[in-house]
Amino acid sequence: MTEKLLLTGNEAVALGAWEAGLVFASAYPGTPSTEILENLAGYGGVYSEWAPNEKVAVEAAAGASMAGVRSLATMKHVGLNVAADPLFTFSYTGVTGGCVIVVADDPGMHSSQNEQDNRHYARAAKLLMLEPSDSQEAKEFTKLAFELSERFDTPVLLRLTTRICHSKGIVTRGERGEVAPLPYAKNIEKFVMTPANARVRRVDMAGREKGELHYANREAAASGVHTVIRAAGGESGKIGVVSAGVAYQYARDVFGDTASYLKLGVTYPMPLELIREFAADVDTLYVIEELDPYMETQIRAAGIACTGKSVIPEIGELNSDIVRRAVFGTEPETVKPSIASVPRPPSLCAGCPHRGFFYGLSKRKDVIITGDIGCYTLGSAPPLSAIDSCLCMGGSVSMGHGAAKAVALTGSGEKVVAVIGDSTFFHSGVTSLMNVAYNGSNVVTVIMDNRITAMTGQQQNPGTGSTLMGGEAPLVDIPALVVSLGIKQENIHIINPLMLGEVNAALDAAFAANEPAVIITRWPCVLKSYSAADTAEFGAARSVCVIDQEKCTRCRLCTKTGCPAIVSSDAVEILGASCTGCTVCMQVCAFGAITLEGR
């Protein structure tokens, strides 16, 4: 009997890649894609690594493919923007070993800064695209993607969404099929994209697309990559539904057994002939898709009448309720509470090293604070409110540069602070800081080095000394890197961000410099499992802060740190179970009412 496993889509992609004989995998962590590589790292026979960013990951996968092995790169949706440069030309060169690029969209922005629909990338870069609708398909389509990559000589895009990545479903386990590496064959016309060679490859791509289109229209239906379900039709005539991905599952719940379904597994190129045949057999055709009218636009352009975004929302994540309400106007019967609940927004953890720095920064007047992508974006929330912008990975430093130049040019006088995490700095902040130094802006760049990639769940990075597979690695020396980028040694301040005196002294010095300055806050994430080096540098002891209720004046200044361990009701108390003894509240208290237990 085949073993049945309950796997998330991410776990299933990892299993599928392993079964497909994958040899090389690279990724930058990003919700909801992160667990693919974390799972792969546990399989034998596959080498997997965290790259500093998604562009590096795709280029590395392209190189491994060119050298003859099956390779994989995974990322969240916005990661493909970073990797778009290699992506478009990789489509021209094609592959040697099969190469699959997994991209995970986040409809509803559960953990993202936008909800871009990456299916447009497949069309723009002319990349064969597969979209699984559950965990079993996530595994099967991953394996298929490697075969199609080699057959059509193209990287293949496997597009997931949050609900595919993070939903568990039943998956049957298979065996790993080893694929012999192909010997390296120098092929300048194929891999060197000079204009002369690229023009030839561009024409070759058109031929490849014809083959892919035939596959999408015919073979994919015959082999069950597309699912076709024919129903007899109900009283309201024959309803047909074209869908793909998780949206298909919502459609199945809403339309039930009375509708016919064409669930597409291949969504680039779009199998319009197949859709035309399906549509001819139904009276009403619905296109049920999440986010943009990607399929609908192409179906309409082919002259096939359908109903899609005129009823189905284009913004946000779908679910069965939304589809049902949109199509049939029916509301579910529910239990309505008569008491309102209070929102529970995420917050910086108790003991988070960012809190001390943000508290100090929040007291400064006339500052522009550009922020970045990571836990520290939560520094924008009240009561700290110490982040003014968050655009993209690495954007804080470049935006800070532009803002500082604008301030200097207009004479408006604000100080500009750019806040970026260690992993984000390695990802794409380094070139931005190079620009600050080269073009000379008075930005204070704050590298919040919490010794790990925290937001996505504690991944290693070039600053931590370890790799994804547990090996030792050289550490990036951030102060030395900053010096070599052109920041003067005297303008670099390395501090413990939990010590408010150090925070204030560093801000004073950096603001006084009137030239590019860098503050490096160095303290581990409170959730980090300390390495031996961490324990040696930061100590292992954790304690608890307590409030002496006789000394406490209920001024509630300590609550302005936004610490979730401090409860403010009639009295102010510290939750012993949450407190780590970081002492930020103790330093803030003007009455000496807070002490560290046992000291």
Binding site: L6, H110, S111, S167, Q249, P337
Partner: protein
């Protein structure tokens, strides 16, 4: 409408309470019982002290991995205010198991809002509510952190009619917890089951 074959259970709580582990064990139980199962959870920024939910649908052939409003036959709330927040997902007449446990959210900590009063009475008036002091039970067993498994035991009890009573829960729990915590978790499960 067409979900005749799929039933649903919703587990809600606050990041760090162990809802995901409890949901994982429960889902594996449904697989052992021979059901098709889908379970959905949200990771990332929402976990930093935010509201967390995991949704399980089971039946002969499950399509959507996420449940709709008014669909959950059972809600297990690891925290009182989360029970209130997710109440609209309960099927009218459904059972809600609620941990008598408060975790104030940031607006409450800051004094900008008050933790709602009268939640348990509201739940009892609107649904078939079972209130459990899982923290106290787990603490008496030796570790307050095991309250997630106490609540799991109560959930399994509530779903006995779905064929969950005859599952080898011991084996599934053993697979999912560290050996050092196995006995504690088994006792927590039993305590929740008989609560």
């Amino acid at each position: 409408m067409n979900e005749k074959n799929a039933k649903a259970i919703l587990l809600v709580g606050v990041g760090g309470q162990g809802t995901i582990l409890a949901s994982k064990i429960l889902s594996e139980g449904f697989v052992s019982a021979g059901y098709d199962v889908k379970m959905s959870e949200i990771h990332g920024m929402s976990q930093r002290g935010g509201s967390v939910s995991t949704q399980i649908r089971f039946g002969t052939d499950v399509h959507s991995p996420i449940i709709g409003e008014g669909e959950a036959g059972v809600i297990v709330a690891f925290e009182k205010m989360e029970a209130l927040r997710w109440l609209e997902y309960l099927r009218p007449g459904g059972r809600i198991i609620v941990n008598d446990y408060e975790i104030p959210s940031v607006p409450i900590l800051l004094g900008a809002a008050k933790y709602p009063a009268g939640i348990l009475a509201e739940l009892s008036a609107k649904a078939d509510a079972l209130v459990i002091d899982a923290a106290r039970i787990a603490e008496e067993l030796g570790n307050a952190r095991a309250m997630n498994i106490v609540l799991l035991g109560a959930a399994v009890r509530a779903m006995q009619s779905d064929g969950l009573a005859d599952i080898d829960w011991r084996a599934i729990i053993e697979k999912n917890v560290k050996p050092a915590f196995l006995e504690l978790n088994l006792r927590a499960f039993d305590a929740g089951f008989s609560a």
